[in-house]
Symmetry: C4
Subunit: 209 residues, 4 copies
Amino acid sequence: MSTRYNRIAGQSVERLAALSDGIFAVAMTLLVLGLRLPVAQDIHSERDLGRALAALAPQLVTYLMSFLTLGIFWVGQQTQLNHLARSDRDFAWIHLAFLFAVTITPFSTMLLASFIHYRLALLAYWCNILLLGVVLYASWGYAMRARLTKNDMPSDVPAAVCHRIMIGQALYAFGALLCFFSTYWSIGFIVAVQVNYAAAPRIPRLFRR
Amino acid sequence: MSTRYNRIAGQSVERLAALSDGIFAVAMTLLVLGLRLPVAQDIHSERDLGRALAALAPQLVTYLMSFLTLGIFWVGQQTQLNHLARSDRDFAWIHLAFLFAVTITPFSTMLLASFIHYRLALLAYWCNILLLGVVLYASWGYAMRARLTKNDMPSDVPAAVCHRIMIGQALYAFGALLCFFSTYWSIGFIVAVQVNYAAAPRIPRLFRR
Amino acid sequence: MSTRYNRIAGQSVERLAALSDGIFAVAMTLLVLGLRLPVAQDIHSERDLGRALAALAPQLVTYLMSFLTLGIFWVGQQTQLNHLARSDRDFAWIHLAFLFAVTITPFSTMLLASFIHYRLALLAYWCNILLLGVVLYASWGYAMRARLTKNDMPSDVPAAVCHRIMIGQALYAFGALLCFFSTYWSIGFIVAVQVNYAAAPRIPRLFRR
Amino acid sequence: MSTRYNRIAGQSVERLAALSDGIFAVAMTLLVLGLRLPVAQDIHSERDLGRALAALAPQLVTYLMSFLTLGIFWVGQQTQLNHLARSDRDFAWIHLAFLFAVTITPFSTMLLASFIHYRLALLAYWCNILLLGVVLYASWGYAMRARLTKNDMPSDVPAAVCHRIMIGQALYAFGALLCFFSTYWSIGFIVAVQVNYAAAPRIPRLFRR
């Protein structure tokens, strides 16, 4: 009986994509709650407000970093789902685990923004990224084993997907290690890697056309 | 006149699915607001932060439990909707009642996380799960009576859907009863059932292929 | 130039529906933030917790009322959009005004829950409902004038849509007037009308089949 | 290897639209959190409540302004995406930058509502609008260069899209400059421009039909 239910459950790639887009959208927007407004009674002049806004810079950087993190994993998940012909119940649950890691990102971001000098806050943040990467890697492996992919998928796609996740996670792990020097080095390195990931491939592409 | 309006209202399964995905996405992500950040002035060292994070463990477990609850009911609702050819106004309202129970989940989760030693908090949480199950069961019954399902639905699907909800609710009810020993037993039992539900069927499946 | 841009903007009914489903989903789920958790230091026994939860009853009723309000208008908007072949820029803006009224609903709900004895809070809530109804009515009128509807729409649909909105608004207005006796009468009357709207047509339908 | 991944990533216009609708929906609804409820212990009569609600007027105006801002950019983005045949990874990242500016809007709105007399708050708000406009302009430029548009796009669409963004940004910049007289003038001017944008083109259109 149980197997029968499991065969009919969780078959819609479209609804998995819709839930994912919703969760990413809410998580990305909730990040903004980490930016706390200046307290009104501390502000008596334009200069006070300027200083209060400048003091928000670390929160703004962690906000940007988390938005980039979520953006990168959104692109990564989308790339996988685009190559699937169908889903099944187990695949749906692997992605629910992935989405769990997405929903916890606003928390680990606010933790890091509030305790930016503490290695532990940075390592907690890194665990979050690691979890996202490990589950996304496992999801692809499962999709291959269970033959969920489309027939017309080019044969070099699987290796490219795996390779990309491994490289990314290696760089994140190196960035996390840097926290034993300084958490600022970690954050700087991770943001640099992410901005490079998001922006750099555009430059050769613009020349190519 | 009223019947005429009722016949033209609420006919889109797609929009019902879209609203549902949105509400599940927001509810799943709002759960994270139940994880309260450590208070900055209590933290003076890495060790303080470590202790403050360790103290979040009960909240993290209730968070995980609620995410699993919502994930299970999301899969369950999706399974039903996938077998529907069309919706009608009454079906839409049954699902709005279901979604009402979804939106209240972040509240009952925070209630349980804040009052984890109190049987009443656990029973309130269980009522929430019970409501989700009863409405989903009623929704399937209505869909069968009103012949909303697709013609090509395999004949064993209806029994599998009903059976699954009954088994699940029986286990939840047993878990809730355990609170008369200890609320921790209840939570542990429910999480174990849920993790088993989400993960266990994967193991035989991996062997089968 | 301006006319040219206006002709190409806002033509997608699908994206308008997607934005609407998103906004309804967020607004419906944000309502739960109006249910405030009991304060931990006031609770020393199961009985204290029971009393604190019982004291939430008025908030729970306003929460339910607003969920029903949003559900009714979601069904109403969906019914209109289902009959459209296309959208245009003006229609998109009428619906953005409608969605503005949707996003303000969590505020007017919390206002009413916090000041439940005050006529002004009830009248503010009613203005919100009135705005939703007026804009939805105007939207249908515009869609008819601009010939956005599908060709195969049955000829009695337009009158049914208008009639339904008028009846509903008349009942809401009567309910709001009752606040000059007591705001509780208003709330009770409105909830009764809404529950009847959501549930009652099901009973004859169940018998018919 | 990297190029290979970049070719397969971010190709779905539908999922980009879905994420965008989700983020716009959440951001538009989060604006309501900027409307703070009157404090219960300050309210002892209907008159007190009336005064407290009247005092919310500036927040309500900034709320409306931000809702209009987001509505305008939602229509603008939708217009672009409707003309695309496909997306690519770079285009997805340009739109993620656009969505970053959308998620920060609730923050800059609350900043402006709280510090409405301060030029700096108004200039920060304007920077937000400027960022939205610049990225949307760049996105269109990229889509043209990378030939992502549909073949059947009318030839006058590109100029209309660019022209519209330029005119809008020029008016916003003029409005921002007015803050050196008074921030109220700025807000009044911007709201007037936006209401005109949203509502005015309807009038000739209604006459035309």
